[in-house]
């Protein structure tokens, strides 16, 4: 009986590193699965990226606030419907309309938002509802403000890409797909058993904060470690905007990691729990039964009971003694 075949692939997509590991499949099957991953991610990016002027999302955002309905791509419709659902479930903490606020704070790189007809775009929309009207029969959308697919778009892209890859792999093969810190796993890992996933230290360093075991599911992390810049007021800001205040979330947390069966919802809950803040994240995550890890501003790692059950290693703490 020969050794288990493990195939690694890597490239760049969605502005991040895209990696895949296939276990227990012939090289040809693994290559075919990788090709499907790349093609599927490209399709998602072409539809959901706000960094491409010709994407379906950019075209939809151009109609924001004009009251018109627009028949959209299936993936964009799913993204909008998921965003609207996430807005409801998170009490408004997940809101794609923070895009205008991000731009007002100086985060550029995406397609410049068009001015509204009256030239008075509100950079901090706090209207009632998600601002996304849907017509499922026509698969049409009408939005009040430009929306950002953000992490949700990446989570959905991972969902679809992993599904496409699995459809080309033999039953029992293991698969890991990773894009910019979001991970989807299924099947056996190279050493047999569950996949071992590290949680990055947001303050740097090679050693993870903790290591978990996950047999199947998805992991996403929201962190202030990246996408930080100096805002127009000269203060450091980051991309995790709290829709309730219009300002970067400042709840005493550096990073939140969530495990969920679906990568899109792992993204939603990691961001919503980050914005819940250090005081509320524990009770909310426990009440929802989520496996969540969070790192406070002082570097302390905490987790829910479900996360504790999945954690196999935790970075030892430095003990300090006073004289």
């Amino acid at each position: 009986m020969g050794a288990v075949t493990v195939t690694h692939h890597a490239t760049r997509a969605m502005g991040s590193a895209l990696r895949a590991t296939v276990v227990g499949a012939q090289r040809r099957s693994a290559d075919r699965a990788w090709e499907r991953v790349v093609a599927d991610v490209e399709r998602s990016e072409a539809t959901l990226s706000r960094f491409r002027a010709g994407s379906a999302l950019s075209r939809l955002n151009a109609t924001a606030g004009d009251g018109s309905w627009r028949v959209v791509d299936q993936r964009l419709y799913v993204m909008a419907a998921t965003a609207a659902r996430a807005w409801c479930l998170t009490g408004g903490r997940f809101d794609g309309r923070v895009l205008a606020r991000l731009e007002a704070l100086g985060e550029h790189g995406g397609v410049r938002l068009p001015a509204l007809a009256n030239g008075n775009r509100d950079p901090h929309p706090r209207r009632h509802g998600s601002g996304i009207d849907r017509d499922p029969w026509l698969r049409a959308l009408r939005i009040t403000d430009p929306i950002d697919s953000g992490g949700l778009g990446k989570g959905l892209a991972l969902r679809w890409a992993a599904g496409a890859a699995r459809s080309g792999l033999p039953a029992g093969a293991g698969l890991l797909v990773e894009a910019g810190g979001d991970i989807v796993v299924s099947g056996p890992q190279p050493d047999s058993g569950a996949w071992r996933i590290g949680i990055e230290d947001p303050s740097g360093g090679d050693q993870p904060m903790a290591v978990m075991e996950l047999a199947i599911g998805a992991i996403a992390t929201s962190s202030t470690a990246v996408r930080r810049w100096i805002g127009p007021d000269g203060e450091a800001v980051h991309h995790l905007i709290d829709p309730r205040t219009g300002q970067p979330g400042d709840g005493g947390l550096q990073a939140v990691t969530v495990v969920h069966p679906d990568p899109a919802w792992a993204e939603v809950w990691s961001k919503a729990l980050f914005l819940a803040g250090a005081q509320s994240i524990g009770p909310e995550a426990r009440s929802r039964g989520l496996a969540a890890w969070w790192i406070r501003d002082d570097g302390t790692l905490e987790m829910t009971p479900a996360a504790r059950a999945a954690t196999i290693w935790e970075r030892p703490r430095t003990l300090r003694f006073s004289a």
Binding site: S16, K154, G180, I197, T318
Partner: protein, 143 residues
């Protein structure tokens, strides 16, 4: 013979009438005396009641006084016991002082600087290497 001289009849009658008048007068005087005695007894009754109450209060006061005396005796006995304990404590303190003095004297003979103990570390870091992982989750959108 001379005829027997008969006593006059009015004499006994007079005696009887006199005795009757006397009896009536005596009865009247006795009745008046009884009324006077009853009135006097009624007048003196509150005074008698007050005297009885005073007697009872005195008995109660006497009982309290006896109880107080008993308590004082008990407190006195306890104080005596405490005094005995204090005396024993004083003796122990004196003995301890003697031992401390002896120990201090012995310490003075210990050479200084001959034996240096290593200083205790104030920061302890336990280095444990993380197990190998297949991937690491980090900031969403990490390039």
């Amino acid at each position: 013979m001379a005829a027997a001289k008969k006593a006059p009849l009015h004499v006994p009658i007079a005696l009887g009438v006199t005795a009757g008048l006397y009896a009536i007068s005596l009865a009247g005087v006795a009745g008046l005396q009884h009324q006077a005695d009853t009135a006097l007894a009624a007048t003196r009754q509150p005074l008698a009641d007050a005297v009885s109450g005073l007697a009872r209060e005195r008995a109660s006061l006497e009982a309290n006084l006896q109880a107080t005396v008993a308590a004082l005796n008990a407190a006195s006995a306890a104080y005596g016991t405490t005094l005995n304990g204090s005396a024993a404590l004083d003796a122990s303190v004196v003995a301890l002082a003697a031992q401390v003095q002896a120990a201090t004297g012995a310490a003075a003979h210990v050479p200084t600087g001959a034996a240096r103990l290593p200083s205790a570390p104030r920061v302890v870091t336990v280095v444990v290497t993380a197990p190998s992982t297949q991937a690491t989750t980090g900031a969403s959108g990490k390039p």
